[in-house]
Structures are given as C-alpha cells and as structure tokens.
C-alpha cells in the first residue's frame, strides 16, 4: 500500500521535472540544467517503477529487465557521446524511432490480456499503430539524413496510395479495437473467454503492426531531405502520443504527462518550423518536393564564373564588410573551425565579419548555431535572417559555404519553383557573392540555383574545408 503511494508521489515529482525541464530548455542560459532536471526525474521514475511494487517477480525476469537497461544505457551513452555534431539530427531521429518501437511492443504484448475493455483496447491499438508509424518513419528519416537514401522515392500517385493505406490502417485499427472490446457479440465470439484472446485473434494485432510499419515508410519516403526536420519533429510528437496512450492503458500519470507534453509541444514545434520555411504542414506532407521532375520550367541563362583562392583573398582583404552564409556543406566538411580562423584573420585586418543564419540552415533549426558555437564563434556574430537581410546592401562580399536553397532567389521570383515562398537570405543584394560548393549539383531540394548565374557571383569549387584552408593561407600570404 505505502509502496504504491510512494510510487505515485515519485510520478508526480517526475511529471513536474518534465514540465520545468522543458520550460528551462526554452532559454539558452538555463537549457542545460533543464535537461538535467528532466533526466533526474526520469531516473527517479524508472527506479520507482522497478522497485516500488508488490508483484511476485521471478529473478529471471528481473535479470532480463536489468540487463536490458544496462545494455541500453551503454549503447545509448556510447552512441550519443561518439557521434559527430553534424550527425546529431539523424541520431535524434533514431532514438525517436526506438521510443516508438517500445510503445508498439507494449501494445503487442498487452493486446491479449485486455479483451472486453473498450478503453484499454483503444489505448492498445492506438499505441501500437502510432508507435509503429513513428518507428518506421523515423528509421527512414534517419536513412535519408545520413545519406543512405538520398533521393525521395515517389511512387506513382503516391498521395492517393498513401491516403488509401492511411485510411485502411485506421479502419483496421478501429475494427480490431471494436471487435476485441465487445464482450458478447465479438466477431470471434467463441475465442473471447474472460480476458484472454485466442491465438487466432493475436494474428490481427501483428497484422496491424505490420501495416502500420508499412504506412510509416510510405508516409516518409516521398518527403524531401530539406523537410526532414519537420518530419522528425512530427514523428517525435507521435511517439509522445503513443507514450500517452500507454499511460492511459496503465492509468500511469507520468506516462500521460510526459507523453502529452511532448505530443503537444512537439506539434507546436513542428508548426513553428513550418512557419520558418513559410510552408503549411500539409504542403510538407502531401506536396513533397525534391523530385527531379517537378520543375524544369526555369531556364537557366548566363554563364558561371570561376574564382581562385587568390582572387577571393584579395577581394576580401580590401572589403569593409563580409557576411558568411554557412550551410550544411560546411558542417559535412567539418569546416567550422577553419571558417572561424578565416573570420579572425579578416577581423584582424579591420574587416567586419558576420554570419547569416537561416532558420533552417543545417539540417534542423538551430543546428548551425550549435556547430559554430562548437568552434568558438562568438554568439553575437550569428545574425538571424530577418536582422541580416537589410544589411546585405552594405555588404561587400558574401561568402556562401555549402548552402544552396536558402540563398536561391527563385524562392522570391519564380512562382513555379517548389521552394517559392520560402524566406531566403537576400545575398544577391551584396556587391560580390562567392559561393563555395563541391560541384554544380543541385541542393537538397533538388533544384537549380539562379544565384550562380548572377553576374556578381563567382563560384569557388572544392570541399569546404580544403577550399577555406587554401583561402586562409592566401590571406596570410598577402602581408
């Protein structure tokens, strides 16, 4: 008795730490402590669940639980510690998938014990479906972000197929929940005896699990890489929802608070991200872009100019103001330290240097800030899009490193472009534009960039780290 009361108190404390933790994470100064507070609440809740109960649990079972936790801790810790900062978004996606799978497995296991209870069946079926979608969707998102699956796969008329699959998943789920919760007039009446379901009906929940997995895949594969952060955020809130259904099933308050909190906060975060890209969520999901066929209407005119490191070094050396636009290419090449060196060299020569950060620079909002902070770039030098855009008119040189879509003027001028309407960094207002890229290939959205054909623009081809190092050396030689 007192054990259960104590457990409820622990869950209450845990729920409060989640709320306070999330709130503190919304402010740069308190964020780290907020995360630790939430983590402490989580550990407390896990320990409480493990030991504060009056069940007669076999040693074997305990051993299994504890070894699973131990193994999970080691693997999770090592992966999280070892991964490069650039790979962080896909890792978040991967961990999210694990949570979804966990929720789905709970549903699979509880299904057979809860026949005849409407509430429990709804929770089980919903948890299974949402958890499975989140699992397979996150894995696909992971593969896309790490480049294994870099082209969006479009089945013919995928919107119709996806919608049909989605409707059938939910109809099937509803039917299972209904059929297995109805006590007397069940569709497999003979097999419902008290609270146990027969083997035959178990087949249905596995089938549902499989169909939901397929839907998760279909849902994610047509979505282009540039939209992945939004998708991850959405799947993140799905997993939260799945956890909440688990909480409903067990009348477990911490699962409910944790799950719903993440569910609603995640949904809001998703919408905020969509707003940053100026695209409605439905457009991200259904009007996926990134395909090769969507827009070939824009004719590309003009020639591309090539510039050498020496030219650029001289140009920069004699300018007053340089703005650097970092993109994912910089992150991939691990060039964040070199760019900081370049910034310092220029500042020593009296050139004003700033970084223009597009809301979706990198792979997630804020990703670029994290990367540049890692190489000690001062916080004040990172200027957000709305603040830097008016400054481009007085800028002598803009150096675009590994960014593409966020500086594509087509977003403003070409209504047929798939990125039309996305707010961009208006680098074409500057006097000179230098674009460092590995090759002429299209950006993540898979479309051509008109900026490169601008007469003011010169290309500086090469791997970001190599090219920038070359540039830094040239600058040093100028003395």
């Amino acid at each position: 008795m007192e054990k259960y009361a104590l457990l409820e108190i622990i869950y209450l404390i845990g729920s409060v730490t989640f709320i306070i933790g999330l709130k503190m994470m919304g402010n740069a100064r308190s964020a780290r402590n907020g995360n630790l507070i939430a983590a402490a609440g989580m550990i407390l809740a896990i320990l409480g669940t493990l030991f504060l109960h009056e069940n007669d649990v076999k040693i074997v079972v305990y051993a299994l639980i504890l070894s699973a936790i131990a193994l999970g801790t080691i693997v999770g810790w090592m992966t999280a510690k070892r991964v490069q900062m650039t790979k962080m978004p896909e890792l978040v996606s991967m961990f999210n998938g694990m949570g979804g799978a966990c929720a789905a497995l709970i549903g699979l296991m509880e299904y057979e014990h809860n026949a005849g209870s409407v509430g429990a069946m709804i929770a089980i079926v919903a948890g299974t479906v949402i958890g499975s979608i989140s699992f397979s969707g996150s894995i696909i998102a992971f593969l896309k972000l790490n480049g294994t699956m870099n082209k969006p796969i479009r089945l013919p008329s995928y919107n119709i197929i996806n919608t049909i699959v989605m409707i059938s998943v939910f109809a099937f789920a509803g039917w299972i929940a209904y059929a297995s919760s109805a006590e007397g007039g069940s569709l497999w009446a003979s097999s419902v005896n008290g609270a146990e379901l027969s083997q035959g009906s178990m087949l249905f929940i596995y089938l549902l699990f499989a169909v939901a997995i397929v839907y998760g895949i279909l849902f994610t594969i047509p979505i282009g890489g540039a939209d992945m952060p939004v998708v991850i955020s959405l799947l993140n809130s799905f997993t939260g929802l799945a956890a909440a259904f688990g909480g409903f099933l067990y009348d477990n308050k911490i699962m409910l608070t944790g799950g719903i909190l993440v569910g609603s906060a995640g949904t809001l975060l998703t919408l905020v991200m969509c707003k940053a890209m100026n695209r409605p969520l439905t457009n991200v999901i259904f009007g996926a872009f990134g395909g090769s066929t969507t827009s070939s209407t824009t004719e590309v005119k003009g020639a591309i100019k090539d510039a050498s490191a020496t030219d650029i070094a001289i140009l920069m050396n004699y300018s007053k103001k340089v703005v650097i636009v970092p993109g994912y290419g910089l992150a991939v090449a691990q060039a964040q330290h070199v760019i900081h060196e370049l910034e310092q060299l220029l500042e020593e020569r009296g050139v004003e240097v700033k970084y223009a950060i597009h809301p979706v620079a990198g792979r997630m909002p804020g990703h670029m800030n994290v990367l540049l902070a890692e190489s000690n770039v001062a916080y004040e030098k990172l200027v957000e899009m709305d603040d830097i855009n008016p400054e481009f008119d007085q800028t002598d040189v803009v150096l675009v490193v590994g960014a593409n879509d966020v500086v594509n003027p087509a977003a403003k001028t070409d209504p047929s472009s798939p990125i039309y309407g996305m707010p961009i960094l208006e680098v074409d207002h500057a006097k000179h534009i230098i674009v460092n890229k590995r090759s002429m290939s299209a950006g993540y959205a898979g479309i051509d960039n008109l900026l490169f054909y601008d007469p003011k623009c010169s290309m500086f081809f090469g791997d970001a780290k190599k090219a920038l190092t070359e540039l830094v050396n040239e600058l040093k030689n100028l003395d």
Partner: protein, 102 residues
C-alpha cells in the same frame, strides 16, 4: 453504445488531465528562439522515453513461461532505455556548446 457512455463516465478525470496537459505543453514551448529548436526537440525526444516505464510495467507482470512475451518485453525495455539515455546525453552535448562561450 452503452459501452461508450460507460467509458466516458469512467474516464472523465483523464479527459481533463489530457486537455490541461496539452495546454501546458503549448504554453511551455511558446516563444522559444529558433536557435533552441534542435536541442528542444531532442530534449522532448528524451522525455517521451518515459514509455520505458510502461515497458518495465509489462515485464513486471509477464508470465515467465511465455517466451515470446519475455523476448518482446526485454526488447521493449532495451529500446526504451536507448531512447531515454541517448536522448538526454545527446541533448546535453548540444547544450554544452551553448554554455561554453559564456
């Protein structure tokens, strides 16, 4: 239909609980600067790792002779732990970057 009415009556507190939590979630996230979106998403990701509590709960009630259930349950606990530990550690690493320049 009877079932559904019963369901509503039996769970009325939960409905309030859910609605209020939704508002708390929205309130907590409101007005967060873009810079913090990634760590925040990652932190939220770690918090939904609370499903592990459910996985442990299943395991504590499992029938030890039911091999399939044991396997699935252990797997669920393992995956849940990955979500929790990996999630919090990754978030901490990201936020560490923000602190350093102070």
């Amino acid at each position: 239909m009877e079932e559904i009415w019963k369901f509503v009556l039996e769970n009325k507190e939960i409905f309030y609980f859910v609605i209020l939590s939704v508002f708390v979630g929205i309130e907590v996230i409101g007005g967060v600067p873009t810079v913090l979106h990634t760590p925040l998403m990652s932190g939220a990701n770690a918090i939904h790792g609370v499903v592990i509590v459910g996985a442990i709960h299943v395991m504590l009630h499992v029938d030890p002779s039911h091999i399939l259930a044991l396997i699935l349950g252990t797997l669920a606990v393992f995956l849940g732990t990955l979500n929790v530990v990996g999630g919090f550690v990754v978030t901490d690493r990201m936020l560490e970057m923000f602190k350093k320049k102070k």
